[in-house]
């Protein structure tokens, strides 16, 4: 009897949580598989589900979407570059702070933490002006560098926590054997840090792929923008094809969801470890 009531109580939490989580995503999917008029009639499932919207988006057959693949490519290139650069910069810094125990390491860590605490939308305004001065506006590198700036502080923090846990004896043995710090970094440190590096790399990749604000400030040329900016541009017209917007958005949401699930194991242990300590 008690078991039954516990089960009922759990369901009473679980069902609302499920609905709350999935409704906006389901609504997006519903639009993607509905013909235009059916989408506007408020049905919970279309009478005749269609795939035509996907065809229009993938073949770039609407003037909002003439550069769909180009913009997908921009998103991909920018997020991969962000992930690689963040990993290089953050793992090197974490290595110097945590393993080489350099003087000033604490200062670098504090600078990084301080950057982590600058709200993203606030840094965006000066970042926009600065990129203009550097002559990088409308250049994909502007977004990559901005995303690296935003992603690396958290990355350094997480990697430092993880590398503090590696045994000191390892470094000492390697140094006695005559390894240079660079060899130590490349042959011992990086291989041991792979799980955390996957977590951090995924974090940076998703951050850049999903970014809207920085992308729409820094990039504006039709062939330079990432897909989120193109989706945002739908809002500027009154007669926007919402079903195509939702279809393109649904397609755009698939890769990050897949990547998250592929690396979920690393993500939850890697990224929460740092926070729990605080």
């Amino acid at each position: 009897m008690r078991g039954v009531s516990t089960e009922a109580a759990l369901l009473l939490v679980g069902i609302p949580v499920l609905l709350w989580t999935l409704i906006p995503i389901y609504h997006m999917f519903l639009f993607a598989i509905s013909p235009k008029d059916a989408a506007f009639s408020g049905q919970l499932w279309p009478e005749h589900p269609i795939l035509r919207n996907f065809g229009i988006v993938l073949n770039q057959q609407h003037h909002f979407l003439y550069n769909f693949w180009r913009q997908m490519w921009n998103s991909l290139a920018i997020s991969c570059a962000t992930a690689v650069l963040t990993l290089l910069i953050a793992s090197a810094a974490a290595f110097a702070i945590s393993r080489l125990r350099m003087k000033g390491g604490r200062l670098v860590m504090n600078l990084a933490l301080f950057t982590y605490f600058i709200p993203a939308a606030f840094l965006a305004v000066p970042m926009y002006k600065t990129m203009g001065m550097y002559g990088l506006l409308n250049n994909d590198w502007a977004l990559v560098l901005a995303m690296v700036t935003v992603a690396s502080p958290y990355a350094i923090w997480i990697l430092r926590q993880a590398s503090d846990k590696l045994p000191v004896e390892l470094d000492e043995a390697a140094l006695i054997d005559g390894a240079s710090p660079f060899q130590l970094f490349r042959m011992i440190y990086i291989p041991l840090m792979v799980p955390s590096l996957i977590a951090v790399g995924t974090y940076a990749l998703l951050l850049a792929w999903n970014e809207y604000l920085y992308a729409f400030l820094l990039l504006s040329r039709e062939t330079a923008i990432t897909l989120p900016v193109a989706l945002g541009n739908f809002l500027s017209a009154d007669d926007s094809p919402w079903e195509l917007l939702m279809t393109a958005g649904f397609i755009y949401a698939l890769p990050p969801a897949a990547i998250y699930y592929a690396f979920r194991k690393y993500m939850s242990s890697g990224l929460t470890a740092g926070a729990v300590k605080g």
Partner: protein, 293 residues
Amino acid sequence: MTATAATAIDTPARRQRRAGFALSPRQVWGLLFTAPYVAVFLGFVVFPVGYAFWLAGSPRLYVELADDPIFLRTVVNTLVFLIVAINVKMVIALFLSGFFTQKRWWVRVLAVLFVLPWAVPSIPTILSVRFMLNPEWGVINTLIFRLTGDDGPNWLNDPTLALTLSMAVHIWKSLPFWTLILLAGRLAIPHELYEAASVDGAGSWHRFRYITWPSMSTLYVTCTLLSMIFTVGDFNSVYLLTGGGPADLTHVLATLGIRYLRLDQVGLAMATIVCALPLILPLVFFMMKRLSR
């Protein structure tokens, strides 16, 4: 011969360097390894922030800002957003983190789905919500009309309702992340404590009150403050749902700053951000003390 000469010249200089500021090879490597990050920090944090303060230096800007009729409303909105949305979110996250410790197959499946809002991009999902709320063709008002025969409310045209819905969107998006963090905190509590408590016949409230909460309270406060700092910078939840409307009544400081920037009033944009500093600097200093050990 040249080598000897070079050594002869080099030695005093090297000795002096050792005496002055000792740079061991290890230290040199350390500087090399941190150089990329320091370069990013100087080029994309120090310089922009310094430039921002220089642009925001004129007192005239603050007079102009205070004269803008939407400014005060924006400050109030930001405070309401921070206080209400964050606390509601964190209490729900704390509760759900307990729910997700349950060992049932379907709870595990739900935990996997639950993370979706956080993993997928905000723009299509928030626009999806925006479209559900459309007063004429949105699914919500269509259902209300079909069930009751009445027209539903004009959701995003009422400033209070629109701001509340923005907060709901914010919660939808970031609840999974904080629930996962708090779940990790719960799982770190030694299980023996709970076993001992059930031997003593403690109910679930007592287990929470005397075991879970004492071990989690520090983490909970840390998360709340962190979330507040991040939420001051939450642009998407408001901009993509309401665009600051109706009549610019739902702006928060983040969207107002960007609005000025789009209107080419960079000075005002920077001044808006400077106005948020009294709000976030105390939080940042507190967090720095707590996290930099």
